[in-house]
Symmetry: C2
Subunit: 159 residues, 2 copies
């Protein structure tokens, strides 16, 4: 694969061998792109809002579910383990950003929801988050974005 970019920077792709399978090359490029975006967002969230990416993701999922989510649903949507989600929930409850209460039908299941304060804070963060993502990816042509969306849909469908 003719690729002049590989080797110009030190990142996950640095570990590639010339003769690695194209699936490996694709995976390491995908990983590098997502790690780079993620680390910029992580730094910006810390700097501007003194918060972390998992906390932001947690609140983002809740903002899409005004009726609340169980801890299991959150864990699945955030694609992280239940333990991590519980830790974040406890912290956000303590700060008054999230409300957590047992589900009436099953008292061992907890439902979490943004509080009005949490929602207000999330809206402010989401606005900045969108600006950051546009600053990071907005250089792409509209047709490149469409193609990428389609190709990544195929990646996702095969997983």
């Amino acid at each position: 694969m003719n690729d002049t970019l590989a080797g110009t920077s030190l990142d996950q792709e640095t570990r590639l061998h010339e003769d690695d399978h194209h699936s490996i090359k694709l995976w390491l490029r995908l990983l590098t792109c997502s790690s780079l975006v993620e680390s910029r967002l992580r730094a910006a969230l810390r700097e501007e809002f003194d918060t972390t990416l998992p906390r932001f993701d947690f609140m983002a999922q809740l903002e899409r579910a005004p009726e609340g989510l169980t801890m299991g649903e959150l864990s699945q949507r955030m694609m992280v383990s239940g333990g991590n989600v519980s830790g974040i929930a406890a912290q956000l409850v303590k700060e008054g950003l999230v409300d957590r209460r047992p589900v009436p039908s099953n008292r061992r299941t907890f439902m979490v929801k943004l509080t009005p304060k949490g929602r207000k804070m999330f809206v402010a963060m989401a606005e900045r988050h969108e600006q950051w993502v546009i600053a990071l990816l907005g250089h792409l042509q509209a047709e490149d974005v469409d193609q990428l969306m389609e190709l990544l849909k195929r990646v996702k469908a095969g997983l």
Copy 2:
């Protein structure tokens, strides 16, 4: 953007709004794809080799640098903080998989290298890792892979 896949599964994309900017949609799809692959690889490494992805990444970078790498170089290539890298190094040294010694010209800088035992173990893991990645991404047509490589190169170049 006409997209029948969104909404069929619960993942990072679940938090999207209809009217989110296309950069946000692209970012969440990229993140979902890379998180899905990552979590499969993580599970397989744990199950077959009782090891973690950061340990594997650490050894993968060293395998590409037979002369060894400083801790700073490793940290940059792995795209993680120095603290994480030191912890992994200490563990691998303890298990005899990695050799760590001060650089003669600067005794505060440490150089790490795979031991023969570490190299042998890495080769076995890398072989399986390649098979897993092919199983996860090998369903893509060759032209889709080429297009994705090119488009992700543009993503990376703008970051």
